[in-house]
Amino acid sequence: MTEADLKKVIAAQGLVLRDEDAAATLATARFLIEAARRVQGAAR
């Protein structure tokens, strides 16, 4: 996921990703994407 992708995902929630928040939010988002992948894998 890129910052541009994340911006769109957050905008879809009615929120705005500020440039100053982008890097840190992306780091957390990537952790959560991996967490979701792990959860979905275990759920199957």
Partner: protein, 446 residues
Amino acid sequence: MKAPPVPSVAEAGAALRSGRMTCVGLLALHRDRIAAVDGQVRAFWAMDPRAEALAAQVDADLRAGIDRGALHGMPFAVKDMVDVAGLPTTNGSRAADPAPALQDAEAVRRLIAAGAVPLGKVATYEWGFVGPEQGLEHPPAANPWNLSHITGGSSSGSAAAVAAGMVRLAVGSDTGGSIRSPSAYCGGVGVKPTRGCVPGDGFFALSPDLDTPGPIAATVAEAALTLEAMAPGASLGQTPGIRGLTIGYARDWFAADPALDPCVLVAMDDAVSALSLAGARIVEVQMPDYALMEAVGAVMIHVQGLRLHRDSLRDRGHLWGRMATQTVQAGAVLSDADFVAAQGLVPGLTAAVDAVLGPCDAIVTATTLTPAPPFAAFDRGAVWTPMRTLPFNVTGHPALSVPCGFAGGLPVGMQVIGRHGDEAGILRVAAAFEAATDHAVITAPL
């Protein structure tokens, strides 16, 4: 001469009942200690204006022969995510509703009914999520053992106030470790009871599936007394000593983690030796996959956190701090399907922990994998602090942290986990460990 740490519940209780001290006088000791050290620790954000009147009522009660028990007259602090009547619940955020709470949270009401005196509101991370962040309405609390280090959170002020000797008892809440990790970092005893044990009415939610109110205190006995008042019957039935108990040591669950500070492993191994010398039979146990349990908890927290805060972020986001904004917004990458999948794994993971507990009376493992990091580590934003706490929010098992040693001059904690509903059992193990060691009598050098 600086005002000393406040007396223990036992000491204060004896003084109150013998007439050597009044509750109003005891309250003054707390205020003196706060005045002496809180400028450095920054635990307290607001004082409860009812405290003097309640203390005077305690004195009148005791003179009239009315004795409500061990907590009668004991001041306590309340995490600022928890309602205290007449004070706003700031949740550490400028975006919070500034109106004062109309009534006490149920757990606070129960403590007051037991005769305890609410002293004031103490620091928390913004919305309970992540911190510490500078530049918010209140500066973050500092670790009394080393003021350039964090307390951990989000029950940061609760742990700091206890560790600094400003109060013996505090109310906190724990969604992924927010009672246990600051307790470990600050050298206090923090109990996350079984989910549902303590009523959550009046506690601001972070992740309703995982949130658990509980106490932080200076000693195991004081934590047990506080828990008992918050949830009558929860800590009754403790049998002294652990001779004959079987304790599972989940060593492999943390020992190989590259983030582990070696001093934590030494402290844990020494702690387990102490448990063995106290008469327990120690067996090494294998826990379910930590990464999966952490993933389940993270998905649940972030999906529910965004649901709770989306409107506030949209409408009042300019008032939010950066760390909380970054953390909550990141949840946008998760879907409802991810949440359902995570929820679906909870019964199996719970059963897996139950299976480990089957032949054991309790499990012990590390609370956090390092001592408290320095504030400087957070200059560029939130930093992941490795711990082993979140799995027991997912499964709902009761878990506490008790001080078990030091790393680089900062406390570290041992986590004790028990069967659902067995708060008495984990308190029993912690009490025996505390009695066999000197960790409870070593205090922060403030």
